[in-house]
Amino acid sequence: MTTHLTDDERLDALEGTVDAARSAHLHDCAACRREVADLRQVWDGLMVDARTEVPEPPPMFWDQLQVRVGSAVDTRTAAWWMGARGWMSLAAAAAMLLLVVSWGARQRTPVADVVVSQADAAIETEAIGDTAQQFVSDVLASLEDEAVHEVLRPATGAFDDALATLSASEREAFARLLQAELTEGSE
């Protein structure tokens, strides 16, 4: 008497792919036949359901489905495009910020920075919380796109640093540029 069928071989027996030697064992072994018969009972139950026809949907369904699919792909394409435009606008704004900052840095003399006292520095830091930074913060907070958030989040510290180097009028100029770019981008 050879060994009983393994689980794998019992499945093969159920599916009719067991090899000849193991098939011979199955023929002689009541225990293995019973195991395979149990599997077949479950399989037959599954087949009762699997052979049930898929019910035909209402006749109008196919036309409606085509419209639904068309709307879905067009909406997604539009959403991607709007997202891409918004992101490009922010990128353009960031590029402008760099231009303004580098221009602002050229206008300052290193000596002026050195002579700023600790007290003045504190005042300068508090002054950053003006309309320009508030505006930038509001814009960032209003962004719903996670990906854009992730891209911009590491840059917010850099924004703070960059804004710190701007005068009040430069910050206002930047805010106006950013506002104009975003307004144009969302149209």
Partner: protein, 187 residues
């Protein structure tokens, strides 16, 4: 050229030519692809969820996925095979999270009801409903394996490729699923 003329011309194209036309920018070629394959895709989806509403949603998702993925379609397999694969992946992803809402089976819908009395049909309908309830209780991977092997008639090799892992593991999964179903249907 009128819209109806374009549609008529596209309908004459085979699947591969339709895909090429779509990738080249002919958006209406995609509508023709949807019209041609929506019934087959719907039937695949219905097998996973056994109700019209979810099957319709899944079918829409499949074509949205196809819209984005068709550019990568190389024509190595038939479009119908590729769409079947997309449908299976969408259904597995969606149904892994939500257990299927099971509609009561209409026994009169059975595909093979030759010489069967009313009692037999009802009994078989109840049995199929029991089977579906049992399948819904299986662990996700076993349930997926049963759906693919029994309802989509995929080979163990194809199942291993879709679900990941070896053919042996796919067969073991299916074997354990049958064992679990047996216990559930007996209790």
């Amino acid at each position: 050229m009128t819209d109806s003329k374009v549609t008529a011309d596209l309908s004459a194209l085979d699947d591969l030519a339709l895909v090429r036309s779509f990738v080249d920018g002919e958006r209406t070629a995609f509508d023709t692809i949807v019209a041609r394959h929506q019934r087959a895709v719907y039937q695949v989806c219905y097998r996973f969820v056994h109700n019209h509403e979810d099957a319709a949603d899944l079918t829409q998702d499949v074509f949205v996925r196809a819209f984005k993925g068709l550019k990568a379609f190389r024509g190595d397999a038939k479009l119908s095979t590729w769409l079947h694969r997309v449908a299976v992946n969408v259904c597995l992803n969606r149904t892994a999270l939500v257990r299927p809402g099971i509609e009561p089976l209409d026994p009169a819908r059975h595909v093979d009801d030759r010489s069967e009395d009313a009692f037999g049909m009802v009994a078989r309908g109840e049995r199929a409903a029991d089977v579906r309830r049992a399948i819904a209780q299986l662990p996700p991977k076993q349930r997926a394996t049963v759906m693919l092997r029994v309802y989509q008639e995929l080979s163990h090799e194809a199942i291993a490729e879709i679900l990941g892992g070896t053919v042996g593991a796919a067969k073991a999964n299916f074997f354990h699923a049958l064992g679990n179903l047996k216990r559930m249907l007996e209790s």
